[in-house]
């Protein structure tokens, strides 16, 4: 079994209302240096068998990310 971590983020240039709302709250709390907050997802999974990274990439293409609005990255921390 191999731990694979998939990160799904809103594409640059796609409006991220969740990131904007979080940024507004951070600014309100006094974190004045913050900008460009974006909120995405981290998906962890155990994958058995051959080439877990390639399997995870296929999962991203088939389901985990919507390539109209999201980018993904596959990581095998090892």
């Amino acid at each position: 079994m191999t731990l694979v971590v998939v990160t799904v983020m809103p594409k640059k240039g796609v409006l991220d209302p969740q990131g904007q709302a979080v940024q507004g709250a951070l600014l309100h709390l006094g974190f004045g240096d913050v900008s460009d907050v974006r909120v995405g997802k981290r998906i962890e999974m155990e994958i058995a068998g051959h080439d877990p990274a390639a399997q995870a990439t296929r999962m991203c293409e088939d389901l985990l990310a919507n390539n109209l609005i999201e980018d993904y990255a596959v990581e095998v921390p090892g």
């Binding site: 796609v14 209302p17 389901l63 985990l64 919507n66 609005i69």
Partner: protein
Amino acid sequence: MSATRVAVLRFPGTLDHESAARAVAGVGGEPVFTHHEDTALPGETGAVLVPGGFSYGDHLRPGALASRTPIMGAVRAHAAAGGKVLGICNGFQILCEAGLLPGVLRPNASLSFICRQADLEVADAGTPWTGGRDEGEVLSMPFKHHDGAWFGDPGSTRVVLRYRGENPNGSMDRIAGIANLAGNVMGLMPHPEEAQDPLLGSVDGRVLFAALIS
């Protein structure tokens, strides 16, 4: 002539199937509830209705998990053969995630769940879905959603309905409902099944159900 049989899809978390089925029956169609794990539509299905709700709890993305269930293969084949498919609210999200309609429904710009009556303008009178209404005519229906902002390439679709006046949810070009280029698949965020009875303020939703079974 027998009534047109309409497969009304049910996923875990579908909510609006009863009112949608009632609206199908109201225009003379025969609704048949159809389970998401079925691999075929009921025999002699003439049209498919994907009702609203929160299929799979909206997990991952609204409609994403429902769009990958076994029944959607049969819906895809039905649509490819020219059969009519209507998706309402979460059903619209499912059709986009399934690739039967272009684009995707994103969270409302306000991040709020919005529930209210809306005036919708007919933007394209050339599809079957608005039953002879002219461009610019207004249909009144309620909408209730958190993820109703359509995003995509407007050139890849036919915009059938737009929100009139102020954009309520950040949808691109105030889009409320679209059809595929062939015109046989339609999705909208507002709820035509809740605009069927004068007691509820509007019967303008009937036109879409009449189109579904014609």
